[in-house]
């Protein structure tokens, strides 16, 4: 501790009274008032109070600034973090945009290709349809032709059948007539021979008569049957 001289003491007190200037700082801690000097003791007390008040004030302000700095640092960190996130998001967005553009270009290309393909397919389909229509027409024509051919064939067959039938009938009639005529002639010739020879003609007479009747009946029966058959066939 430093005990000051009287002169210094008086100067300090005078400066304090007239100019309101007081000793401050750690120097105060080593100053000591002469024993019994209550005035200087009071002066030192005032100096210490003033110094303490100033320090308290400064400490408060410094702490506030420190707190604000800390908050600002925190805010700056947060800003940095947000900025990083924003940058990342921006990069991601940019990436997504590029990807979307690529996809769009790819889609457009695919769309154009698909459109082209569709056109080609449509063209092919039209051609195929046309071909099918032509084929259908051709088929119809062929069908018609086939039907005509079938009809003609049927007609020919029918005609052939009729002709065959007619020929058959003619043959039958001819053979039947020949048989009838033959039997009639043989029987007549036999009857004539018997009569010329003067032989017993009773049996041959009745036989001839019966035979003739039978032949005629059968002849007409055959003719009737043939006519009937012919008529029935014609109706069908």
């Amino acid at each position: 501790m430093i005990e000051i001289t009287e002169h210094t003491r008086n100067v300090l007190l005078e400066v304090a009274k007239k100019r309101k200037v007081y000793v401050e700082g750690n120097f105060l801690k080593i100053l000591k008032a002469p024993s019994g000097d209550t005035e200087f003791e009071e002066y030192l007390k005032v100096c210490k109070e003033k110094d303490s008040d100033k320090r308290k004030q400064r400490l408060e302000i410094t702490k506030q600034i420190q707190k604000q700095n800390s908050e600002l640092e925190q805010a700056a960190k947060e800003n940095k973090r947000v900025n990083r996130q924003l940058e990342k998001a921006l990069e991601e967005t940019e990436g997504a945009r590029q990807k979307a553009e690529e996809l769009l270009i790819s889609s457009k290309t695919h769309f154009r290709n698909a459109e082209k393909k569709e056109k080609e397919q449509n063209q092919k389909l039209t051609e195929a349809l046309k071909e099918a229509e032509e084929a259908h027409i051709e088929t119809q024509r062929l069908k018609l032709e086939a039907e005509n051919a079938k009809s003609k064939a049927e007609q020919d067959l029918s005609l052939l059948q009729k002709k065959t039938q007619t020929e058959l009938m003619g043959n039958i009639v001819r053979v039947a007539l020949w048989v009838i005529m033959g039997v009639g002639l043989v029987t007549t010739a036999l009857y004539v021979f018997v009569m010329m020879r003067g032989l017993d003609a009773k049996i041959i007479e009745s036989t001839w008569s019966n035979l003739f009747g039978i032949l005629l009946t059968n002849s007409f029966s055959i003719i009737g049957t043939i006519m009937g058959v012919k008529h029935a066939t014609k109706e069908k």
């Binding site: 750690n26 801690k29 400064r58 400490l59 410094t62 702490k63 707190k67 700095n69």
Partner: protein
């Protein structure tokens, strides 16, 4: 009251807080605040080999992470205690409460660990009470939370 006290901390604003708090608590008569452990190391180098009892601070408070310096507070304490010579009360003042770091500090000879916060005065006041024990090397390592 501590005669000479040194604070090594990169935060200049904390220098003012610390000086005012110490002054209000009548804790130290003279305070020297440095913002770099390199500067402090240079000073300790000069003081101790040539004149071990001259100008050395009575007590040193070192921040744990000193931004802009070549080494941290724990290394600073190791240097003070083991390279430049033991002789002053030395400890950490930091906002960190990492137990591993605290253990490391203890191992290199730190005598205390003060948690730095907005309301530093109660811890400094408590430290002031224990100071004589640190000076006499009788007080155990303590963390001021």
């Amino acid at each position: 009251m501590i005669d000479t006290l040194m604070l090594i901390d990169d935060e200049n604003l904390f220098h003012l807080v610390f000086e005012d708090a110490c002054s209000l608590l009548d804790m130290a008569l003279s305070i020297e605040a440095l913002d770099s452990s390199d500067k402090a190391a240079e000073m300790f180098k000069k003081w101790f080999p040539d004149d071990p009892n001259h100008e050395k601070p009575e007590c040193v408070f070192v921040d744990l992470n000193i931004i802009g310096s070549s080494f941290d507070g724990i290394e600073m304490i190791r240097k003070i205690n083991h390279e430049y010579g033991n002789g002053c009360v030395v400890g950490i003042i930091s906002s960190s409460q990492d137990e591993q770091e605290i253990e490391k500090a203890k191992l290199v000879g730190a005598q205390f660990w003060i948690i730095k916060s907005d309301d530093i005065e109660p811890r400094l006041e408590e430290f002031k009470k224990d100071y004589e024990g640190y000076k006499a090397r009788t007080a155990p390592f303590k963390v001021y939370r």
